[in-house]
């Protein structure tokens, strides 16, 4: 939404009342932002070419050796596969569910206010609280096993079992994101002219058709923007959740690329190598963004 507004109000190009001197007001903010956010990002592209065995030791120039090692590292290959599984299972399910949820909320049926409040709750919870909540919910004596126990099922240590750890991570990611995205979709859909839906009603369209044939094409750009943001958040943000839930385990069942960047750079003190992986993550991010934008572009 913000983006649309930016496009709608171009900087006063007409030149009426322009005061270039006022640009100095932006200097502290811009310098601050460049120094602490953009600067470190650029530094990544230098550090990736260093052999740096930890914060305390002196770095040596390593050329492309970090990248060469990356290509043949089976742990990286495994992390790429896990990242693809995590994204592939999370994104389509979450975006389709939340679009349907947004359409539903926008019908403003009785009770929609309270539903909206509930959908918002996960957006208020920090990664560490989310992680600890599910450590407890999925733990050996947690909520899920308590419910299963009532039906005489022995239950399982969901996060410590290599066949259920990744599905659990996927489920938690969807749990935490679908409701909030649904509320965002509902805000976008409420800006659609009701006459358009009324016309579809006259043509005898049901909700299912209105949802996919009317609402989706109109809001496809917004669908694309939210998908891109969710993609970035899932791709880069999985490290925090994994750190609390599984630390990449059991074995390497939940090692994603973002987790390896954190693990190598922070715990294992392989700083240069970790940043080479960081560049790989960054490239995947850009390729993914461009792909999503191509797929979800307005076609009218």
């Amino acid at each position: 939404m913000t983006r649309r507004n930016v496009a709608a109000t171009p900087p006063s190009a007409s030149g009426v009342g322009r005061e270039p001197g006022l640009l100095w007001f932006a200097a502290p903010s811009l310098l601050w932002y460049l120094a602490f956010t953009v600067g470190p990002l650029f530094a990544m592209f230098y550090i990736a070419f260093l052999d740096w065995k930890g914060i305390a030791s002196a770095p040596k120039w390593a050329g492309l050796s970090n990248f060469a090692r990356m290509v043949s590292d089976p742990r990286v290959g495994n992390a790429i596969i896990n990242t693809v599984i995590h994204l592939g299972a999370t994104l389509p399910v979450m975006m389709i569910l939340s679009f349907m949820l947004g359409y539903f909320l926008n019908l403003k049926l009785p009770g929609h206010r309270i539903l909206r409040v509930v959908m918002f709750i996960p957006a208020l919870i920090s990664v560490s609280a989310l992680g600890m909540l599910f450590v407890a919910v999925l733990g050996p004596v947690g909520l899920v096993n308590g419910i299963l126990g009532a039906f005489g099922h022995p239950g399982s240590a969901w996060l410590a079992n290599s066949s259920t750890a990744m599905p659990a991570l996927i489920a938690i990611t969807i749990w935490a994101g679908a409701g909030f995205n649904g509320v965002l979709f509902s805000a976008r859909l409420s800006a659609i002219d009701p006459d358009i839906f009324a016309a579809a009603d006259l043509d005898g369209a049901g909700h299912w058709q209105k949802m996919w044939k009317v609402a989706l094409p109109i809001a496809i750009d917004y669908f694309g923007v939210l998908t891109m943001l969710q993609f970035l958040w899932t791709l880069f943000g999985s490290a925090g959740l994994i750190l609390i839930l599984t630390e990449g385990g059991p074995g390497s069942a939940t090692e994603t690329l973002s987790w390896l960047v954190f693990r190598f750079g922070y715990s294992d003190s392989r700083v240069g190598y970790s940043q080479a992986l960081g560049i790989l993550l960054f490239v995947i991010g850009i390729v993914g963004l461009l792909t999503i934008r191509r797929m979800l572009r307005a076609r009218y």
């Binding site: 913000t2 903010s29 509930v118 609280a129 600890m132 909030f180 954190f262 700083v271």
Partner: protein, 299 residues
């Protein structure tokens, strides 16, 4: 902006009443959808309800009667986890970092937005483009280089580095959103002040700031939630030292000491950590939702 939403609301109301003129909105399809949405809502609420009731019972009851609000152990779990994690000082650290960071964010973003909104010209457009690119930089990407920067500055393990870093990470959204608000202020308002010889700073403070207060509130709320909930930078840069760590860093240390996790304590600790944001949500409900929806582009 508020006016536009008002129109949309009215149109939506008109649409709704015309829909109600038809037989009933509850077709079989809608009933199925309603049940599915309520099911999902229960899936969201259930773990939190369980977390709440589990915080007030001994571990043994958590498994045997998960949903019964027994309140057997009173506030014992809460007191124990509070002491074991030194949550008092963790809470103070979180308050210190969050409030200073919100203040710094606004102190640099408000003048920047005023400058960009009023200066115009190609340089302002380029600057705005640079901020917009910031939306696409996920916070996590530069974690390790930022850690190195903290070490270089001699601020490793210091809370103060977070007060430098967090406002920087918040600038793109804050500046762009506030610039939009500033553009809606009519130029005529400041002309008489200018004739009276008021300085730019004076005009910003006494004309613009009062008029863009909703935008400032939005940014303050968004950043309060974001800064309060920040985890991985706080962990890596400030560290887990019990005197300096934030609430979010303290909480996960409950897990797996010698492989044993006391779930009653986990529930109690998590409850304490989410309580501040939830309490504020109860008070600021509508405003907070609007803020989160407006700021969603930042993700």
């Amino acid at each position: 902006m508020a006016e536009a939403t008002g129109t949309i609301d009215r149109q939506a109301t008109a649409f709704r009443s015309s829909a109600q003129a038809m037989p009933s909105p509850f077709t079989p399809g809608i009933i199925v959808a309603y049940l599915a949405v309520v099911g999902y809502a229960l899936l969201l609420v259930l773990p939190l309800y369980w977390l709440f009731v589990s915080s007030f019972k001994p571990s043994i009851e958590i498994l045997s009667q998960p949903f019964v609000p027994t309140f057997t152990s009173g506030v014992q779990n809460l007191v124990e986890v509070w002491n074991r994690l030194s949550m008092g000082s963790a809470m103070l650290n979180s308050i210190y970092i969050t409030s200073c960071s919100v203040v710094v964010t606004l102190l640099i973003a408000v003048p920047a937005a005023y400058g960009l909104a009023r200066a115009g010209g190609p340089i302002a457009a380029i600057m705005e483009r640079i901020y917009a690119l910031g939306f696409l930089i996920p916070g996590f990407a530069a974690l390790i280089p930022t850690l190195l920067l903290a070490i270089k500055l001699g601020l490793f393990n210091d809370r103060e580095f977070m007060i430098l870093y967090l406002p920087a990470s918040a600038q793109p959204l804050a500046v762009i959103l506030l610039t939009q608000f500033m553009r809606t202020v009519p130029r005529e308002l400041e002309e008489s002040a200018r004739i009276d010889g008021a300085s730019n700073l004076r005009i910003l403070w006494s004309i613009y700031v009062p008029l863009v207060r909703p935008g400032i509130a939005t940014i303050a709320i968004l950043n309060f939630i974001g800064f309060w909930n920040e985890y991985i930078y706080s962990l890596v840069i400030v560290g887990a030292n019990a005197q300096r760590r934030t609430l979010q860093v303290a909480l996960p240390t409950l897990q797996g000491n010698q492989g044993i996790t006391d779930y009653a304590l986990v529930c109690a600790g998590t409850l304490i950590s989410v309580l501040p944001v939830f309490l504020i949500y109860i008070v600021l409900n509508r405003r907070m939702e609007e803020a989160l929806v407006q700021g969603a582009v930042k993700g």
